[in-house]
Symmetry: C2
């Protein structure tokens, strides 16, 4: 049904359309690619491809344009991820290695990705749940207030204020702090809940209210922060692209962090790329966009995801290469910190 030449034609259509942004016709195709057959033959192939739904024409007597399904086939079978050039790789490395803290790593990553791909970049903060407790600090802020600071081995710091307590003594705080740290340091965050239940028993009865308050806030922060933070960059690149009509919808979708995180999808390990094309994205406003995402993390421990959002008409091999490379380097940088 789809012989080799038809696939070659599809590939050529995708490539041409991506670079010219104009529907591509049979004549133009044979001119630019040496396919060794005449336009008429190509036309016949095009008819097949159109029947199968890989390409479409905007209107009769216009050239063909790839459909979502066409891009999908292109990505799955007709293209290979394009590795970055050596200078590009060096640039990534030096750009990222200058970062001093987690915030800056994330900020630089998003800038980098946006510049490299000329698309909108999205980077999710490394998740808490996949890291382990490095230290818990309790700071008395006043007679009735305590601040809890949770530090993880990925360098993330999470703070909460606990209010409305009565009679917080420094000793009680001190004591609770050391109990907490003894019990929790080195534990995976996912294991924290079950360990926590054993703690009140180790605390003098007088200080139980404090302990309970702190523990419940701790649990809260573990759960809540799962709806995590993402950072966006390169939105200016949207304006340059074709879709001026749906632009509003796209921008709106991008502002919904929750949506965005869901869309970064189920990318598993760092070497794995996820590509979502057009209507494959569940969110209405992003039906004209594609999302390429990858997981990143330390070693083979996935921590979070990153990716880019662009028009379905995008340079898939190049963008995929950039996303993959950046994901890997971020992992390295995180490991090195």
């Amino acid at each position: 049904m789809l012989d080799d030449r038809k696939l070659a034609v599809l590939r050529a259509i995708v490539e041409d359309y991506v670079s010219t942004n104009e529907p591509v016709g049979s004549k133009a195709l044979v001119d630019r690619h040496s396919l060794g057959v005449s336009p008429a033959t190509i036309r016949n192939d095009m008819v097949s491809l159109e029947e199968e739904g890989y390409i479409a024409q905007p209107h009769t007597s216009a050239g063909r344009v790839p459909t979502d399904k066409g891009y999908r086939l292109f990505v799955d079978r007709l293209s290979t991820v394009k590795p970055l050039s050596r200078p590009e790789r060096r640039a990534i490395e030096t750009f990222l290695s200058g970062a001093v803290d987690l915030d800056e790593i994330v900020a630089r990553t998003v800038r980098l990705l946006a510049q490299l791909t000329r698309q909108v970049a999205v980077v999710q903060y490394p998740s808490l749940t996949r890291s382990c407790v490095q230290h818990i600090e309790l700071v008395p802020l006043g007679p009735q207030r305590v601040m809890m600071v949770l530090i993880t081995d990925t360098g993330r710091v999470d703070q909460r204020v606990i209010d409305g307590l009565l009679s917080v003594t420094d000793e009680a705080v001190e004591n609770l702090r050391s109990v907490l740290n003894r019990a929790l340091i080195g534990k995976w965050l996912t294991d924290v809940p079950q360990t926590v239940s054993t703690i009140p028993a180790q605390i003098p009865a007088d200080d139980r209210p404090l302990a309970h308050a702190v523990l419940s806030v701790l649990m809260e922060s573990l759960v809540e922060k799962r709806e995590e933070k993402v950072v966006l960059g390169g939105t200016a690149n949207l304006a340059a692209k074709g879709f001026s009509t749906s632009l509003r919808d796209v921008l709106e979708a991008l502002e919904e962090n929750v949506v965005l995180i869901r869309l970064l999808g189920e990318a598993a390990d760092p070497s794995m790329l996820t590509v979502r094309i057009g209507a494959e994205n569940s969110h209405e406003g992003l039906h004209t966009t594609s999302i390429i995402s990858a997981g990143y993390g330390i070693g083979d421990q996935p921590l979070a995801k990153l990716g880019v959002v662009g028009p379905t008409r995008m340079d898939y091999p190049g963008t995929m290469g950039a996303v993959r490379a950046v994901a890997r380097y971020v992992g390295q940088i995180l490991a090195g910190q």
Copy 2:
């Protein structure tokens, strides 16, 4: 030169143009506003206004459009800040009071401001330099690494990793921590540098290298964080507005945090509103936009700024009211935390 009627005409032109987005002519003007004179008279006034540079026509035989200078006069002399309606105020209050930590306060504020004004909202994080030290924590992360966490009374937490140390003993860290806290708690951040110089003397010679490393990182974080964080929201509102041409430039400018912070300008105390119209903004890409900003803070202590960015053709009285109201409420919320 500019008698009362001419000012009234200017005001009417601004109001009409803002609401219709079309150049306004003499006829339309007398229809919509009861000015009590004929179109011909209005035309004469318009000529004066145009000579003075307050209005302009896109081309001969089109209606008039306010210039930057016209908007400026309107804002300065012809309009009054429009207070929010009671339900709007209640909405702000309930929306903001649900926030639990600083990140969330900022995130909610930016959303709120964007929704209220239907423009792009910008909120700067409360600055470090205007707050004072609540606690300094040192956490040994390994044989050669220490993390420093600086907590301020505005609830801001700042962490840095110090690397490449030799032989960090727990006692040394403990000791340094208590010395630091004894010396610095309660100090304004601006006063920290001079106090810091007295510290090494209080440390055993063996631990001086550690102390120096920590102190220099501390100083660094005081200086660096002055280039502060801002959060953007409501960029989707840009797409709905007129300027599709310069949209790219605007988005680009908005991504430059440094630019943005500078543009939030010299708004002083919370009751003070700053309005920058069109070319008054130094940044090239924002010549077609106006920025309305206000300071916010606890009591009369200004901590940071917030504002909105929109087309020069915007509803100044309404937007100014919203910005002012939000700035005030954020201050209250911060004080309550």
